[in-house]
């Protein structure tokens, strides 16, 4: 720093870009995976800090991944179990979406629903819903129905809440516009409130997609049967930890598939909700 800077010298002050911003996302993710697996390998196979019964080495896990994958591809008993769980998850999601949406409309659209129904829903929602599993098994047996019921029960509430919130999302101005056009209550519901609420509703559906997976597997843990959850429990009771790891990884693919199916549908239906919209609403 000089007291009399040269007028011909430009200011040199380079904008800094943080290191993490210079790395592409895939490289960052890959890097983290490599680090985690390296530590995992070190802790298990190389140094033996952790017993293989608690945590299998990456190699053992990979072997089991391949074994389970082969069984699935060859249409073995694991594919059958996965198919059972898939059906459970599918029906539970459909039922939760149907009931959740209907209750959401009742709560969001009618004073009766808001005043009389909502308090009960909130009360039930605060209960640990898994505790109802023995009841569902007693009512519906050890077959797929009791798991569907538990999973649907868990997944319904986020859809109710998000649907009701979605129906409140239309602005005062939009409601006034519809009123001034002489729109009926049903017209306002179907042509204004529901489309405006779609992004909210899909948020609820995504939470439900996660909940339905948790519900189905919990149901299979507690109620036995043919599903993937039963396989996991079986392997765990035999201390076959690598198999448990492998099964969980394949199970998570099912959850991801459901989640992305919902996300894909949202992208198709809520096509307008991307850029900022100065002329549009909300």
């Amino acid at each position: 720093m000089t007291a009399n800077p040269d007028p011909n010298v430009d200011t040199v002050w380079v904008e800094k870009v943080a290191l993490i911003d210079q790395i592409p996302r895939w490289a960052a993710m890959l890097g983290l995976a490599v680090i985690v697996i390296a530590i995992w390998e070190l802790a298990t196979a190389r140094m033996g800090w952790v017993s293989p019964i608690i945590l299998p080495s990456p190699g053992e896990t990979l072997d089991d991944l391949i074994f389970v994958g082969k069984n699935l591809l060859s249409g073995g008993y694991m594919l059958e179990a996965l198919w059972t769980t898939t059906r459970t998850v599918f029906w539970a999601f459909v039922i939760a979406a149907g009931i959740g949406f209907s209750l959401g409309v009742l709560v969001g659209e009618t004073k009766f629903g808001e005043r009389a129904v909502m308090p009960y829903l909130v009360a039930i929602d605060t209960m640990p819903k898994v505790a109802f599993a023995p009841l569902f098994i007693a009512w519906l047996g050890f077959d797929i129905a009791s798991k569907v019921a538990l999973a649907a029960f868990i997944a319904t509430f986020p859809i109710v809440v998000s649907t009701a919130a979605g129906l409140y999302a239309a602005s005062e101005n939009e409601r006034m516009l519809f009123k001034s056009m002489g729109a009926s209550r049903l017209q306002t519901l179907f042509r204004l409130k529901l489309p405006t609420g779609l992004p909210h509703i899909f948020t609820g559906l995504k939470i439900a997609a996660v909940g339905v997976m948790a519900g189905a597997i919990t149901g299979e843990f507690l109620g036995g049967g043919q599903g993937f959850g039963a396989l996991i429990r079986q392997s765990a009771s035999q201390m076959d930890t690598p198999r448990v790891f492998a099964l969980i990884l394949y199970l998570s693919l099912l959850g991801l598939a459901l989640f992305f199916a919902v996300a894909w549908l949202q992208k198709r239906l809520v096509f307008w909700n991307k850029a900022d919209r100065p002329g549009g609403v909300g």
């Binding site: 101005n173 001034s180 056009m181 919209r277 002329g279 549009g280 609403v281």
Partner: protein, 272 residues
């Protein structure tokens, strides 16, 4: 130019000869919820082709008056008659425009414009009205944007589209509640000139609520000045600036004189 001889501001207005379109007499409104008297003894008549504005500080009952005129809110007492028929609810011959354009983002601009027809007469009628929506879009200079979604329109363009939506059902009266107050000043000036042109072309009868004195003066044939607690009209001012109005008129002494007069009427507390 001197200001030596100011013409009187309150005088008989030329439009009085035209047919009355909207008549309000002895109107009062007390909100049942909180027993708050928002309006008392409001009398006004809008004549065919006339542009009337109401100015007043916030909370003086402007929006209440407009909601009653649009059939969104029942009056407590008084006569509210449009085209000879009492207003007892929303009507197709009332056109409304709000501060926000409120275009539905899942409908194209043209579909948004025929929405009032879709709601009142069904989808087939709305489809049949699309050519007229296109004409209106051309009128406001949005001819190329009929099939664009509102997300791609600027704020000013969206408000122009909402002008079209208001005009699609050929309303007998246009009710405008601070329609451009959410826009930036340059766009707002431009939109005011557009509004003047459109109203002249359509020979619309318009009623504008605003809290911009300049906007009211540049657009109106008459200005009603309201005061709050309880809301009432304290003076009616005829704007005798020649038509068509231009933005340059804002710099004329007459314009300044009118604005100063209204500001005096409203008192110091009104526009802070």
């Amino acid at each position: 130019m001197t200001m030596a001889e100011p013409r009187p501001l309150t005088a008989a207005h030329p439009a009085a000869a035209a047919r009355p379109v909207y008549e309000i007499a002895r109107l009062s409104k007390t909100y049942a919820r909180n027993s708050l008297t928002a309006l008392t003894d409001v009398n006004l008549t809008l004549h065919k082709g006339e542009f009337v504005s109401v100015v007043g500080s916030s909370g003086c009952g402007k929006s209440t008056l407009l909601k009653i005129m649009s059939g969104l809110l029942p009056p407590t007492t008084g006569r509210v008659v449009l085209e000879g028929k009492p207003v007892t609810g929303p009507r197709a011959d009332i056109g409304m425009m709000f501060q926000q354009a409120t275009l539905l983002p899942w409908k194209t601009t043209a579909e948004n414009i025929v929405l009032p027809i879709e709601i009142r007469e069904g989808r087939a009628a709305a489809k049949a009205a699309l050519p007229r929506a296109l004409d209106l879009l051309k009128l406001v200079g949005l001819g190329d944007f009929a099939n664009v979604y509102p997300g791609e329109l600027s704020g000013g363009m969206a408000q122009r589209a909402s002008i079209c939506r208001m005009l699609i059902s050929n309303p007998a009266v246009l009710l405008l509640d601070e329609p451009f107050s959410a826009l930036d000043e340059l766009t707002r000036d431009f939109m005011n000139m557009e509004l003047q042109r459109i109203c002249a072309e359509q020979q619309s009868t318009a009623f504008l609520v605003t809290h911009s004195l300049a906007e009211a003066v540049i657009l109106s044939d008459r200005i009603l000045v309201m005061k709050p607690r309880p809301g009432r009209i304290v003076e009616e001012i005829v704007i005798d600036l020649p038509r068509p109005r231009t933005l340059e008129m804002i710099n004329t002494p007459r314009f300044g004189q009118i604005v100063a007069h209204i500001r005096d009427l409203l008192g110091k507390e009104a526009f802070q």
